[in-house]
């Protein structure tokens, strides 16, 4: 269980890195399409799934960031981590898993909504919160690792 906890926690940290890469890829691709091919972005094309007629592969960056990874994989992994934490017996593991779950809800649902409804400035918090989430996930993974090491070094009970 502790190993599973460790894998899931570090997995979430890795998925945050994927998120950062995907969104940067997408926006550079978009900028290149506008610069080189005269792509025009407007509401009509944003609301279609045509990729605004650009057909650029970096569009996958948006799909990964905003759908596959961002709203499915990371929230699901954080939920599974929370459940595993109940069984794993990692010291402070439940608190860390609950904290990760809360940060994911903030990151994937609350901050994007505030960025659209209240002001784009919340987008900056979305970026900052990603780093916090990654840090907490790494710490959780390290705690599980430490617990496993401690367990292995204990003498077997006769």
């Amino acid at each position: 269980m502790r190993k599973t906890y460790q894998i899931l926690a570090l997995g979430i940290a890795a998925l945050v890195v994927v998120q950062a890469g995907a969104i940067a890829w997408a926006f550079f691709g978009l900028a290149n399409e506008i610069d080189k091919n005269g792509l025009v972005i407007n509401k009509a094309c944003l609301e279609s799934d045509s990729g605004c007629g650009g057909g650029f592969t970096a569009e996958w960056g948006f799909a990964i960031h905003m759908f596959f990874n961002g709203t499915i994989l990371i929230p699901l992994t954080s939920l599974v981590l929370l459940i595993i934490s109940f069984f794993a017996g990692v010291p402070g593991g439940v608190k860390f898993a609950a904290g990760i779950f809360g940060l994911v809800v903030l990151q994937a649902f609350v901050l994007p909504m505030l960025s659209r409804e209240a002001g784009s400035g919340f987008g900056a918090l979305h970026g900052v919160n990603a780093l916090v989430l990654m840090g907490v996930a790494i710490m959780a993974g390290m705690r599980a690792s430490a617990a496993r090491t401690a367990e292995a070094s204990q003498p077997a009970v006769a």
Binding site: V40, N42, K43, A44, C45, L46, E47, S48, D49, S50, C52, G53, G54, T71, L79, L82, I83, F86, F87, G89, V94, F109, P112, M113, R116, E117
Partner: protein, 483 residues
């Protein structure tokens, strides 16, 4: 197993149950049955007006009344104009009589129009909805509400009187978020019996296909031969899911009509764009100057009359839109919105939850998720006011079937211009609108977001008349799936 370990396992199992069971319960509760009567959906909202007197039913379905299927145009009247539209699935899109957009249907005011829809091979079935035309309910073309989807090899005739001059369009209302986007639509223009022969008329149907944005089915620039001094009426139809920004270079223009209704005493516009909501139409009036005039649609396609005044260059979209709240001059509405019989709230929000078992962030109406939405109940002859409020994170082009509503105010600011009649109203994030209409077309009518994926995500409520009963069901053998 030591008792401490056992206790810890029990605690862990209990904590897991606390997390998983509510999720499972919400998931299970959100599952839709395979087939259901839409009139039984959600809860009745009487808008502060009287409840129907007929019977002692407590709900809003299952009571006797005129079936939707009987709310037709005069069956004894012969059609004045007949069309056949054959729709086809080409594998990578849909066509109507071999093209997309389908043919422009030009009809004359007052005529009884009969259109036969032939579904050549669309597996999901299909329908035709007459967007903006206040047709009899049975001709509204909404699968599972006003008809069964027309299966492959089948056909169905729509009959209605073209009683209002203006620019409209037709499109599928079966799996509409896919069928419309992939091409199953076309324009409908209702002309006056004696049109002004001096005016050059053109239709501009805007649509985003897989390959990108188009104007009348083609990318780029469409050039129309026109002499200087030629008067033009340009009928813009936005068949997409988002607002289209339209602007004119080389001449001033007037917004002659919105959603098929002429504006009263429109004034010249220079430097501002006009916004055409998803599903909406705008008629622009202009006079071709020496040197020509160009109309840009969202910066992607354009129509040039005479020469291109930019010499084929690019234009910059204006920052501002014509504000229809104060454009033109006031005129009589034909009814008094201050004497409303019913006032409904249509507050749009968004929250996490399950939609037919799918987890996600979904649209809400008055705080409720689909299908637990209000059924707006009215009686024929009622003056009805809707307060639409958008508290969600995206714009919503709200489309009421079967009626035209007049805008009373936006964010509390009263309308001071020409009566602004709409069937497709752009409600941006944070905005609120008050609109009013006369309930004069009995039936069960959709009142939904015309960003069609939003409708498929549950942003669809209905208006239902007292004394009307449903004739069709969602799902079932025809596979009715209107959104």
């Amino acid at each position: 197993m030591p008792s401490q370990t056992r206790r810890r396992l029990w605690l862990a199992a209990a904590a897991t149950a606390v997390v998983v069971l509510p999720l499972g319960w919400f998931w299970q509760a959100s599952l839709l049955p395979d087939t259901y009567d839409l009139a039984a959906m959600g809860y009745p909202d009487y808008g502060g007006g009287p409840r129907p007197a007929a019977g002692d039913h407590t709900g809003h379905d299952g009571h006797p009344g005129t079936p939707v299927a009987e709310l037709t145009a005069d069956p004894d009247r012969r059609a004045d104009e007949s069309f056949t539209l054959r729709v086809h699935d080409d594998g990578d899109g849909y066509t109507v009589n071999g093209t997309s957009p389908g043919p422009v249907l030009d009809v004359t005011q007052g005529d009884l129009v009969e259109v036969t829809l032939v579904n050549e091979n669309i597996e999901d079935g299909t329908t035709l909805h007459w967007h903006g035309v206040d047709v009899p309910n049975a001709a509204d073309g909404v699968a599972g509400v006003t008809q069964d989807a027309v299966g492959p090899g089948e056909q169905l005739a729509y009959r209605f009187v073209a009683d209002q001059v203006g620019t409209f369009w037709y499109h599928s209302h079966q799996v509409s978020h896919e069928q419309v986007r992939q091409g199953l639509f076309g324009a409908l223009v209702i002309h006056p019996a004696e049109p002004d022969a001096e005016v050059l008329e053109r239709v501009a149907v805007l649509h985003e296909y897989d390959d990108g944005p188009t104007l009348n089915g083609r990318a780029g620039v469409e050039t129309v031969d026109a002499e200087a001094g030629q008067r033009v009426r340009l009928r813009v139809v936005n068949t997409d899911n988002g607002l289209s920004k339209v602007w004119v270079t080389g001449a001033a223009y007037e917004v002659l009509a919105v959603d098929g209704t002429d504006l009263n005493q429109p004034g010249p516009v220079e430097g501002d764009a006009v916004g055409v909501p998803a599903g909406g139409r705008v008629d622009l009036g202009l006079v071709v100057p020496e040197g020509g005039v160009r109309v840009d649609f969202g910066g992607t396609t354009s129509m040039v009359f005479g020469a291109d005044p930019t010499g084929g260059g690019q234009t910059i979209a204006p920052d501002d839109f014509v504000d229809l709240l104060s454009y033109g001059e006031p005129a009589d509405l034909g009814f008094d919105p201050a004497q409303a019989d019913r006032t409904f709230d249509y507050r749009i929000g968004k929250r996490p939850g399950f939609l037919d078992g799918r987890p996600g962030m979904w649209w809400t109406v008055n705080g409720h998720l689909f299908p637990d939405l209000p059924m707006f109940m009215v009686s024929e002859g009622d003056v009805v006011v809707f307060r639409i409020e958008n508290n969600s994170d995206d714009a919503h082009p709200m489309h009421l079937h079967g009626h035209h509503a007049v805008v009373l105010s936006r964010d509390g600011e009263p309308a001071t211009g020409s009566p602004w009649w709409v069937d497709s109203l752009e409600v941006r994030t944070g905005e609120s609108y008050e609109i009013a209409f006369l309930a004069d077309n009995p039936g069960i009518w959709m009142d939904h977001c015309h960003n069609l994926p939003h409708a498929a995500q549950g942003l669809v409520a209905h208006l239902m008349y007292d004394g009307v009963s449903s004739s069709y069901r969602i799902g079932g053998t025809p596979g009715n799936e209107p959104e």
